[in-house]
C-alpha cells in the first residue's frame, strides 16, 4: 500500500497539470472540434500578436515578477542576516504565520483601501494638511508601472519567504557560521552572506522560484491593484477567454502559451541572476571586505519588514472598519457612524460559502498532509537520505501559471461530468496545496534523528509502529503547521474554485470578488475580512492543539 504513495502523489498532481496543458495547447493551435474549429493553424497566435499592447503586458508581468521576488527576497535575507537571534526577530517569527495566512486578495483589498487617493491614508491628512476636499486625481492604484500591484505582492511574499527561510535555517548551521565570521572580523550582514547564504539558498531556492512564478502570473491582485492600460498578461488572458467575440478559447489558449513563456523567461532570468550574484559574491569575498559598519543596513531591513507587516495588519484593520461603518464620506478620517448593518445583511448569505470553504479546506489539507507523509515515509523506508529527485516534480504546479492549465482542466472535468463535483474540487485544490504542504513538511521530516527509529526497531517494533507512535508524534508540530498552511492556501484559491466549481462551490473567496464588483466598500470589507481571518484560525488551532498535546513535554513545546 505504502508503495503506491510517491507514485500516487506524482500522478494525482501532475496528471491534472498535464491534462490542463493539453487542454490549452490544442486550442492554441486552432483545434477545438466541439466548437467547430477543426483545422490546426497558427491563427490564434496571429490574433494574439495583433493584440494592442501585448508586449507591454508581457513585459509588465515579467518585470513585476522579477522585481517583487528580488525585493522580497532581499528584505528577508537582510533581515535574517542582521537580526537573527534578537528579540525583534522572535517577535516577527511569531507573526509570520498570521501574516502568511492572509489570502492575497484580502491583503490587496486592505492595501487598496489604505493607499488609494480616496483611501484611509489620504483621509487621515485631509483636509487639514493637504487642503483636499475631494480625492486628488493621482494615479496611485492602477499605475502603469504596476507599483501598487508590486507593493501588494511584496507584502505577501515576504512572510512566505521568511517562513521558508526559517525552516531552512537549522540545516545551514547558522550559529556556528555566525560565530566564525564574527571571529574573522566580518560585520553581521556580510558575514551571513558569505557564510550562511550559499547553503541556505540551496534549500529555499524552489520556494523562491515558486514565488517568482506566482508573481508573473497573478490574477486577483492584478485585478484589484494592477494597471488596466494595458493589464498584465494573465488578466488579459482571462478576459479573452470570457469574451467569445474576441476568439474566446482559442485566443486564450495562445495567450496561456505566451504566459508560460513569460514565466519561463522570468525563471531563466532569475537563474542567470543567481550565477551573476554568485560570481559577484566570489569577487567580493576575495577582497576580504569586512563591512563592519552595517548598522544602517540592519536598520533598513528591520524597517522594511516592519513596514510590510504593519501594512498587512493595517489593511486588515481597515477592512474591519469598513465592515462596521455607517456612511463614510471623504475626507472624514473615521466613519460618521458604526453599525452592524452590513454584517447582518451579508452574514446569513455567507454561511453557505463558509461551510463550503471549510469543508474544502479541511479535506484538502488533510489529504495533502496524508499524501505527503505517505510519500515521505516511503522514501524513508527505501533508505534514501533525503527527498528523491522524482518528488521535485511535485513543484511543477507551483511553477506553471494557473491560468495556463486551469482552462484545459475545466474542459476535462466538464467532459467527464465532474465539474462542480467534490472530488474534482478536491483534486484541483490539492494540485496547488500539496506542493506547499510538502515543502513545509520536507525539511522537518528529514531533520528528524533516525536513531530514534533505530532504537525503537531494536526494541522489537516494526516500521509502522515507528511511523505512527514515534516519528509522527515527534513531528506533530511541523505536521500541524503544514496542515494549517495547506488550509490557508486552499481558502485563498480563487481561479481554481471559480473555474472548476461551476458555480456550485461558492467559497468566501469567490463571494468576496463577486460582491466586490458592486463597488460597496462596506460589503467588500466584510467579506474580505472574513476571508482574511479564516486561515488564521487554522494556524491558531495548530498552535492550540500542539500546546495541549505537549503540555507536559518540554522538549516539544518550543519550536524544535
Amino acid at each position: 500500500m505504502l508503495r503506491l504513495f510517491p507514485a500516487a502523489a506524482l500522478f494525482v498532481l501532475l496528471a491534472p497539470v498535464a491534462a490542463g496543458l493539453a487542454g490549452i495547447l490544442l486550442p492554441a493551435f486552432g483545434y477545438l472540434p466541439t466548437l467547430g474549429h477543426d483545422d490546426v493553424s497558427l491563427e490564434p497566435f496571429r490574433q494574439l500578436f495583433a493584440m494592442p499592447g501585448l508586449a507591454r503586458s508581457a513585459l509588465l508581468s515579467f518585470g513585476t515578477g522579477l522585481a517583487t521576488t528580488a525585493i522580497a527576497f532581499a528584505v528577508v535575507i537582510l533581515f535574517v542576516a542582521g537580526w537573527r537571534g534578537t528579540r525583534l526577530f522572535r517577535t516577527l517569527e511569531g507573526l509570520v504565520s498570521p501574516l502568511l495566512s492572509v489570502p492575497h486578495a484580502a491583503a490587496a483589498f486592505g492595501l487598496l483601501f489604505l493607499i488609494a487617493p480616496a483611501g484611509f491614508l489620504v483621509r487621515l491628512v485631509s483636509p487639514e494638511l493637504t487642503g483636499w476636499e475631494r480625492p486628488p486625481d493621482l494615479l496611485i492604484v492602477q499605475d502603469r508601472l504596476g507599483l501598487a500591484m508590486s507593493f501588494g505582492l511584496i507584502i505577501k511574499e515576504i512572510p512566505f519567504l521568511l517562513l521558508m527561510t526559517l525552516a531552512a535555517l537549522p540545516q545551514a548551521r547558522v550559529a556556528e557560521m555566525e560565530r566564525m565570521t564574527a571571529a574573522l572580523g566580518y560585520g553581521r550582514v556580510v558575514g551571513f552572506m558569505h557564510g550562511v547564504l550559499p547553503a541556505l539558498y540551496r534549500q529555499v531556492r524552489l520556494a523562491v522560484l515558486a514565488v517568482l512564478a506566482y508573481a508573473t502570473s497573478v490574477v486577483d491582485v492584478a485585478i484589484i491593484l494592477g494597471p488596466t492600460t494595458p493589464a498584465p498578461l494573465a488578466v488579459r488572458v482571462l478576459d479573452w477567454r470570457n469574451d467569445p467575440d474576441l476568439g474566446g478559447h482559442l485566443l486564450a489558449g495562445a495567450g496561456a502559451v505566451l504566459q508560460i513563456g513569460v514565466t519561463g523567461a522570468a525563471i531563466l532570468a532569475w537563474l542567470a541572476g543567481e550565477r551573476a550574484c554568485g560570481a559577484l559574491a566570489r569577487v567580493i569575498a576575495k577582497t576580504g571586505w569586512r563591512a563592519t559598519a552595517d548598522s544602517w543596513l540592519r536598520g533598513l531591513s528591520a524597517g522594511l519588514i516592519i513596514l510590510s507587516a504593519a501594512t498587512i495588519l493595517a489593511g486588515i484593520a481597515l477592512l474591519g472598519l469598513w465592515s462596521i461603518a455607517g456612511p463614510w464620506r471623504f475626507p472624514d478620517a473615521l466613519p460618521a457612524a458604526v453599525s452592524l448593518a452590513t454584517w447582518m445583511r451579508v452574514g446569513p448569505g455567507l454561511l453557505g460559502p463558509l461551510r463550503d470553504t471549510l469543508l474544502l479546506a479541511v479535506s484538502t489539507s488533510f489529504a495533502a498532509v496524508a499524501l505527503a507523509l505517505g510519500a515521505l515515509e516511503r522514501e524513508a523506508r527505501l533508505g534514501r537520505a533525503a527527498a528523491g529527485r522524482g518528488l521535485r516534480l511535485l513543484y511543477i504546479p507551483l511553477l506553471v501559471p494557473q491560468v495556463a492549465f486551469l482552462f484545459g482542466l475545466q474542459i476535462l472535468f466538464s467532459w467527464l461530468g465532474l465539474d462542480g463535483a467534490f472530488p474534482a474540487m478536491l483534486l484541483s485544490h490539492l494540485v496547488f496545496v500539496f506542493p506547499y504542504v510538502f515543502l513545509s513538511l520536507s525539511d522537518p521530516w528529514w531533520s528528524w534523528d533516525p536513531h530514534y527509529g533505530q532504537l525503537t526497531r531494536a526494541l522489537g517494533h516494526g516500521p509502522s509502529f515507528v511511523f505512527w507512535r514515534v516519528r509522527l508524534p515527534m513531528l506533530a508540530r511541523p505536521v500541524l503547521t503544514a496542515a494549517a498552511l495547506g488550509f490557508a492556501v486552499s481558502i485563498g484559491l480563487y481561479l481554481p474554485t471559480l473555474l472548476i466549481g461551476g458555480g456550485r462551490w461558492p467559497t468566501i473567496t469567490t463571494e468576496t470578488l463577486a460582491l466586490a464588483s458592486g463597488g460597496d466598500r462596506k460589503i467588500a470589507g466584510a467579506t474580505a475580512l472574513l476571508q482574511a481571518l479564516l486561515p488564521f484560525l487554522g494556524f491558531a488551532a495548530a498552535a492550540v492543539i500542539t500546546s495541549v498535546l505537549f503540555r507536559n513535554r518540554r522538549a516539544l513545546r518550543s519550536s524544535g
Binding site: 530514534y452 526497531r457 531494536a458 522489537g460 505537549f550 513535554r553
Partner: protein
C-alpha cells in the same frame, strides 16, 4: 555462572565484508561469547558505525555487505531489525520526548508481559531497581544526563535482548558519571549473559569492558 563458549552461543560475525562503491570499508571475522564485550576502536570514518549498522540491521542501501551474523545459533543476517533481538544504545539517551519516562519504558517492555497491571508493575520494578523509584510519570526532558542514561539502559534491557550494541554510549556523559554508567552497563550485560559489541574512542571504556579489542582501519 560461566558463559558457555560454544560457537552456537553468543554473537558471531562470520566473514563480514562491507563495501562502499566497490571499495572495501570494513572486514571482520569474530565471535563474542555471552557476557563478553568486543571493543572496536579506530579513527573516524573507518567504518565502525557502519559495521554496527550492519549487525543491528540498518545498513544503508548505498553499501554492499557479505558475510553472516548469527546470534545464539540463529542466522539473523536476513532478518529485519525488529526481529533480531539486538539492543541499541547511542551517544544520546534518545528518550522519546513525547512520552513520559514510564511510556518510554513501556515501549521497551516485551509484549509477553500482558495486561496493564502487570506491565506497570514491571516498569515500577525496573525503576526501583535502578534507583529511580517514582519517575514513571516524569517528562524525559527534565531528567539529568545520568538519569536519562539509566532509563535508556533500562528500556533496552526490558526488551530482553540477546545481544547489545553500544555506539560510543558514554562519550556525552561527564567524567564522574561516565565511570558509574559504564560499570552499570557492563554489570548488567554480564548478569544477563549478553554478548556486547562496543565502539569507542576512549581506551578507558575498552579497559572497563575487559574483552578483546579490535583496531579497525
Amino acid at each position: 555462572m560461566t558463559a558457555d563458549r560454544r560457537p552456537e552461543h553468543g554473537l558471531v560475525l562470520q566473514d563480514v565484508r562491507i563495501r562502499l562503491d566497490g571499495e572495501l570499508l570494513v572486514a571482520i571475522d569474530a565471535a563474542v561469547a555471552p557476557g563478553e564485550t568486543l571493543t572496536l576502536m579506530g579513527p573516524s570514518g573507518v567504518g565502525k558505525s557502519t559495521l554496527l549498522a550492519f549487525v543491528a540491521g540498518f545498513l544503508g542501501s548505498d553499501f554492499e555487505a557479505t558475510g553472516r551474523v548469527a546470534l545464539n545459533g540463529r542466522d539473523v543476517t536476513a532478518l529485519p531489525a525488529e526481529r533480531r533481538g539486538i539492543g541499541l544504545l547511542f551517544q544520546d539517551a534518545l528518550l522519546l520526548p513525547h512520552l513520559s519516562v514510564g511510556g518510554n519504558l513501556l515501549i521497551g517492555l516485551r509484549p509477553d508481559v500482558r495486561g496493564r497491571e502487570a506491565r506497570h508493575r514491571a516498569i515500577e520494578a525496573a525503576l526501583a531497581e535502578f534507583g529511580l523509584h517514582g519517575f514513571a510519570a516524569r517528562d524525559p526532558a527534565t531528567l539529568s544526563g545520568g538519569q536519562a542514561a539509566r532509563v535508556a539502559l533500562m528500556r533496552t534491557l526490558l526488551a530482553r535482548p540477546e545481544a547489545l550494541i553500544l555506539d560510543e554510549p558514554f562519550s556525552r556523559l561527564d567524567a564522574g558519571l561516565r565511570g558509574q554508567i559504564r560499570e552499570l552497563v557492563f554489570a548488567e550485560s554480564r548478569k544477563h549473559g549478553l554478548p556486547v559489541l562496543l565502539v569507542t574512542h576512549d581506551p578507558a571504556d575498552a579497559e572497563a569492558a575487559g574483552g578483546r579489542v579490535i583496531e579497525l582501519g
